[in-house]
């Protein structure tokens, strides 16, 4: 675990020094602008608009970081050959991979936490003091973070066996498909054979179900996030993420470097 931690902390340091956290400035400006504008153009629904906008921004910004930096975690190290000296140390390849994953997960956690504070500040500006239901934002943000971490795992899996461009394409493709995994499972099409339907159902179980992590609508309307959903989604992310990372480790373990 020591090796994993060493790689993870270095990955976090890399992200910070590569100015990944600069996106927070953009987020802060967005939230300030929204807080000023919302008060002028929407009456009574300021809170809902701020929450929707804030959570969407957290999700989209995080998605960009997870996909683009997630893909680059391994491919950049291979392209620049920074990996060569490292793998000649007593480090297992899976330790490197999990360390890189953990490092970016840490970066995303810090980034998401900072954006959440920004969101609360914007919310406080439009409806001070904060009300009890505002704390429901926390489970919503937590679920977004779980989703982002799962996307990082997928990005790393693809970058282990294909080019960065294709890895980005595959990750985004799986993400979009995963948003509709639930619908694919329950789809009723009259013109499709039962075997095709069974195939779709099987695919829907293989795809990561990102729908589970989206409670934006619930929170924006002040309704509580069911605790069971939080636990189930956590468990799902851990199991699915572990399987994806195990696959990535298996592929990377036998990968010839250039």
């Amino acid at each position: 675990m020591r090796n994993v931690w060493v790689v993870a902390t270095n990955t976090f340091r890399e992200a910070v020094r590569d100015r990944v956290l600069y996106n927070l400035v953009f987020f802060a400006l967005l939230m300030m602008g929204a807080a000023i504008l919302v008060g002028q153009i929407s009456i009574g629904i300021e809170r809902s608009v701020i929450i929707s906008l804030g959570l969407t921004a957290i999700s989209v910004i995080g998605l960009f970081i997870a996909v683009f930096i997630g893909v680059g975690l391994v491919s950049k190290e291979m392209d620049k050959r920074t990996l060569y000296a490292l793998l000649a140390k007593p480090v297992e390849r899976w330790q490197f991979l999990i360390g890189k994953f953990a490092g970016l997960a840490m970066t995303l956690a810090v980034n998401t936490a900072a954006m959440t504070i920004g969101l609360y500040l914007a919310l406080w500006t439009v409806e001070h003091p904060l009300v009890g239901s505002d704390w429901q934002l926390l489970p919503a943000v937590y679920l977004i973070l779980l989703k982002l971490v799962l996307i990082v795992a997928l990005a790393m899996l693809f970058s282990c066996f294909t080019s960065p461009f294709l890895a980005i394409l595959f990750t985004v493709g799986i993400y979009v498909a995963g948003l509709f995994a639930g619908e694919l499972r329950t789809m009723q099409a009259v013109n499709l054979s039962p075997s095709t339907m069974r195939g779709f159902r099987a695919i829907s179980y293989l795809l990561p179900n990102f729908e589970n992590f989206n409670v934006m609508g619930v929170v924006a309307h002040g309704r509580p996030v069911p605790l069971a959903l939080v636990w189930q989604s956590t468990l799902y992310a851990i199991v699915y993420g572990a399987m994806v990372l195990a696959g990535a480790s298996l592929i990377f373990a036998r990968r010839n470097l250039k």
Binding site: R2, N3, V6, N10, R13, E14, R17, D18, K80, R81, T82, L83, Y84, A85, L86, L87, A88, K89, P90, V91, E92, R254, N256, L257
Partner: protein, 350 residues
Amino acid sequence: MRPSAELGSIAPEERREPTNVDGGPDIAKNGNMPSPAIEIERLSKEYPHGFLNLKKRKSLEDLTMRVEAGEIFGFLGPNGAGKSTTIKLLMRLIFPTSGTARILGKSIEDVSMHQNIGYLPEQPYFYDYLTATEVLDYFARFHNLTTADRRERVQKLLKKVGLETAKKIQLRKYSKGMLQRVGLAQTILHDPQVVVLDEPMSGLDPLGRREVRDIILELKKQGRTVLFSTHILSDAEMLCDRVGVIVGGKLRGVGTPGEMVGIQSQGMEILFELENAAQRFPLLEKATKTGERYRVESSESELYAHLNELKAAQARILSVAQIRPTLEEFFMNLVDADRAQANAVEVSGR
């Protein structure tokens, strides 16, 4: 051409005898079995290429050799010969198609083996957002060193490779030569038993090359084993106890630099001066004149006849020496032979 002081001391065929099949000392005869630091057995590497990756290109073919503990072993060959492939296989950066290798008695698959190995990649590149101190500290963390020990070693190594004044600058601002020095520092940071250097002189100025040579020699003094690849033959001649020459993915010879260049005799060289510059005799037609001196090449069988001819002409013989190719010529001959063979295969294939 480099003339030797020896005159026909060993026939070319005989010079091959001191080494066994894999080029190492004949341990079976002396009974005193030294433990090899690196043992490579029938190591091959093929890369798929072409449409659908159906064709295979051999990058390394049945490489068998050993590097003895405590020696400096030079791995020579032109670009694309298979030097880096071999080193990458040893460092498990790529995986062999067949064959095995052991370092310090452990299989290269065993990661714990890397506690005692230092590796300098060719044209090393490190995290450019880190300073030299940080990157060395990062690598040192994988070697079970205490914080105090790590700090002490990092500072010592930075001083040793001449980066003490640049230690707080991010590596993105480093020159190629400076990165090479960082690479060398991380290689020996944990005091490894075996040091593997891939083109260690690459990108260095003459001073840097001298410093690297000094470090390699110091490692030898400390009893460390050094395997380094290079195509700078003078470095190999200067530093190596033994060299291995690899061309076209095949090992073409292993031995001391002296043995390697002595394998092929290229005749004799006679230097002489004439009392009377106007005189003429048949051998003079073959000679080349530099200043007052004449130089003529002769085969070993014709040597005495030519010496008699010079004696008759009352020439003053300055020296008679065996013409020995330099390591570079030996190396180039192998490369030329390999190219000729490849062309022949291509022509017959058509």
